[in-house]
Amino acid sequence: MESLILNGTFDLWDFICDVYFGSKSWFYVITGVLYMAGLWKMFEKSGLKGWWALIPCAREYQLSRCAGREPEGRMLSVFTFIGILTATFGMAPYAALTGTGMTKEVAGTLVLVISFTLGIVAIIYNIRIATGLIEVYGVKKRWMVLWILMDAIPAMVWGFNPKYQPAWKVEDIKAELEKLAHQGSADVMDEGLTVNLRDRTVTEFFQKKVLLRDIHMAIPQGHMVLLLGGSGAGKTTYLNAINGYEPAKAEVLLNGTNMYKQYKKMQYEVGFVPQSEMMRGKDTVYYTLLDAAKLRLPQDVSAAQRKARVDEVMEIFGLTPVKNNLVEKLSGGQKKRLSISMEFISNPSLFILDEPDSGLDGVMARELFVQLRKIADTGKIVIVITHTPDRVIDLFDDVIVLAKDSARTGRLAFYGSIEDARKFFGRDRMEQIVKSVNRVEEGGDGLADEFVMKYAEAQKVGGAA
């Protein structure tokens, strides 16, 4: 690929050939046209506009959406764009900016090196996208070889042959959003947590994605709440939204104070214990807690009070015997307890724990949840995510069930007491409830939409919760 502008002459046909087909050779032109025609039909089959196939950079991304490989598509689009820029301008902008006498030979060599490097990366990402397409079209892996050697052939076959249909279509999120109306709202509580979340969206590569929608609830003080949901249902996103760390379009009030508007002050009222032990292994237990106290406790707390609080928390969580040990030398259970005590040191009103029992055996997990129950009994709200809820379900007051609907958006399928949940879902065990809302391809019953609608209806008539 040569730099068109740097060569001094700009030929439109050369430019089109470079951008669309990579070469002026008739063979490349013909196969390029066939490829675009095949893509046009493939896009239509996946519910996208066919003309995307004509736009370089964009077509790579759209193809990755068809394949369910959007991150790869984004990268490939960027690399393609850089490739086109390099091919068009070469190193001329650099030479002009720096005023250096870069020769055409040097610029040509650099363009070749960059193109070659990008070419290698593009091949890798192409293979990843092709892997996704093979899964989507349910064809044999040997198609991969054909795709790499001459992508026009599989594109034409998958695009024009009605025998090949994609397993699923790319959803138009905007249209979906418009279809669904926001439903209900929870009454604001003076003491407790009130969540009225309309939606939580992210924009990735100019594409808006809805991660969570319509979640409304009011959790009273002193409740220990179980948060259930299959993988990708948005549990962690939801927790980050309610503690204000990743704000959503929502109103979240803790004891009557808006979490979002007064985030700087309220962040000390929330204790968030992450799934993995995010602590420095080379520090001692005592100093880890002392530093946590310095960060989390108000400035006017004296050094003596701070040390007394550290000693008290170590006593509560049984860490006193190992206070001088390095964190990395602790057992799994001790690490969990230390992680929780780091948040507990500031005595927060809302306590959120993301899978605190992961890696713990049944006995240790039970002991941990008993301790959490004790914390809730001191008037705090404790929200816990766990994948093994049934062994400790007797310790919980309420359950939140999040489910991924057909638009792949996290929705509230239920919020209420444990007993009500059993009745609502018609299942005794919490793990069965999760299975019922999981998608079929994930091994679930695929009833998410059904329960989401049922819960929404129940909310309207003032039922379930």
């Binding site: 003080q221 520090d283 530093d291 310095k294 960060l295 989390r296 406790l297 400035q299 927060p348 008037g379």
Partner: protein
């Protein structure tokens, strides 16, 4: 939830929490504890090992000649960049999750980064101290006086510290960009290669890459070390060393006398001009000449030779003063006395002793020795034994005098073949002269204004490095502020 006691939590959120300044000390304390627990201390023995290895390589060249000094400066810069880069390349990315957690608990990113900057400064300071000490131990001879302090090693230490610290900050930034240690360690070689290739000192770079050198720490780093080491005033020995190695190479060919004379007369040739300007000759007293003549076998043989025709001493004197063939001898200027031989003889004619012997007959049996005795040469020489004859002249003057002789001119087309070694040719001019000439000329040709040992040069490079430190510190803070792009 029937009989569970519910304790109302206090509303403490109006309380003030620790600000940025106070948080810096929390994290600095943590990092200092980790220095012991987390094996950060290992960077010190590592620095000593690296400095030892490099010191052993550069000790015999650094500060002794230009090439050795540049090479040594580059090696020291590499040590500093290496130390700095590996100090902090993993410090942020390895605890990215912890930072995220603490950030949501109220940690300020700026405090966190600043505490790292302080901690890394202490680390770099210790490493630089170790590096300078170990290189001195291995035998690098640091010149005594620096520009800013009474010890050059301290001046160099300041530069080394700035280079190490700037590299450290660069790595800190890379560590904030990379999300995992694997990614950071993958980026690292590219950073190092970029620094080394575009230092602008060791490799000759094409003009278009010149702007890139402004973005490397190694560029001002190399300049400042080279300037402090006074590189420009060191001899450039590569060429003379090469000539030294070629001493045994045979050279030779056929040349004419004219070619040799023309070559030696070429005043525009700087090498010839240098040779021509060399002083030769020695001042002798008459007494010394007499002594030399008496010891000379040739002179003793000459004394025994018979004079051909009968004549008296006056005839000989007249012949010298009048014969055309003896004109060159007559016109030869006696150095220092500023008179010609002719004029000297004319003067001698007035001397009493000489007048008396003018009529003395010289027969065929008379020898040259007799003639000398007749004129009482021994007596005259004894009389004027302390008079100085000859004088210091230059090679050029000697060559020009020789070239002016008719006899020599008549032999211009005579050719002769010679075969010798380069070493012998060098010996003709003097090995020391050739060596110092080549070293001075090569050093002058390799002069670089950037390496000039001036305080303004050095301060400029220090400021350049300081700018890098601040820029990378700031970039690290900005980058880490995006640790969670959705954060408030």
């Amino acid at each position: 939830m029937s009989d569970k006691s519910i304790v109302k939590s206090r509303r403490r959120f109006r309380a003030r929490h620790r600000g940025r300044g106070a948080q810096v000390w929390i994290y600095l304390g943590k990092l200092l504890r980790m220095f012991v627990y987390q094996n950060d201390w290992k960077v010190l023995p590592m620095a000593a090992l690296i400095a030892g290895l490099v010191g052993m390589v550069i000790r015999k060249k650094m500060f002794l000649n230009m090439e050795g000094t540049i090479m040594g400066s580059f090696a020291l810069v590499c040590v500093a960049i290496w130390n700095g880069c590996f100090n902090s390349i993993q410090v942020i990315c390895r605890e990215r999750d912890v930072i995220k957690r603490e950030h949501r608990s109220g940690m300020h990113i700026s405090s966190y980064i600043f505490s790292h900057m302080l901690y890394q400064f202490l680390l770099c300071l210790m490493q630089t101290g170790v590096t300078m000490y170990v290189t001195k131990l291995t035998g690098v001879r640091y010149p005594a006086e620096g520009l800013f302090t009474p010890w050059l090693i301290v001046d160099l230490g300041i530069s080394m510290l700035l280079i190490t610290y700037a590299s450290d900050m660069l790595s800190l930034w890379v560590s904030t960009l990379a999300h995992t240690t694997t990614t950071a360690m993958t980026i690292m070689p590219f950073v190092l290669i970029f620094q080394l290739v575009f230092s602008g000192g060791m490799l000759t770079l094409p003009a278009w890459t010149e702007p890139l050198t402004h973005f490397t720490i190694s560029n001002p780093g190399l300049k400042v070390i080279a300037a402090q080491a006074d590189t420009n005033n060191r001899p450039f020995v590569t060429i003379s060393n090469m000539v030294d190695k070629m001493k045994d190479n045979e050279v030779g060919g056929t040349v004419t006398v004219g070619q040799v004379l023309d070559l030696l007369a070429d005043k525009d040739n700087p090498t010839v001009a240098e040779i021509r300007a060399m002083e030769i000759g020695k001042v002798f007293t008459v007494g010394e000449i007499r002594e030399m003549l008496e010891k000379s076998e040739t002179f003793q043989q000459l004394k025994a030779e018979h004079v051909l025709d009968d004549m008296d001493v006056g005839d000989i004197i007249d012949a010298i003063l009048e014969e055309d063939a003896l004109k060159p001898l007559r016109e030869y200027s006696i150095p220092k006395l500023n008179i010609t031989v002719g004029e000297a003889i004319a003067l001698l004619q007035g001397v009493d002793g000489v007048k008396d012997v003018a009529d003395t007959k010289i027969t065929r049996q008379t020898t040259v020795g007799d003639v000398l005795d007749m004129v009482d040469a021994a007596g005259i020489m004894e009389k004027y034994k302390d008079v100085e004859l000859g004088g210091v002249t230059t090679v050029g003057e000697a060559v020009d005098w020789l070239a002016g002789l008719d006899d020599v001119q008549a032999r211009r087309d005579k050719s002769f073949t010679f075969k010798t070694t380069l070493g012998r040719l060098i010996d003709l001019v003097g090995e020391k002269n050739v060596r110092s000439f080549l070293e001075e000329k090569a050093a002058a040709a390799s002069y670089k204004a950037d390496y000039e040992m001036r305080w303004d040069n050095i301060v400029e490079y220090w400021l350049h490095l300081l700018a890098f430190i601040l820029a990378f510190g700031l970039l690290s803070t900005i980058t880490l502020e995006f640790i969670d792009k959705d954060k408030r």
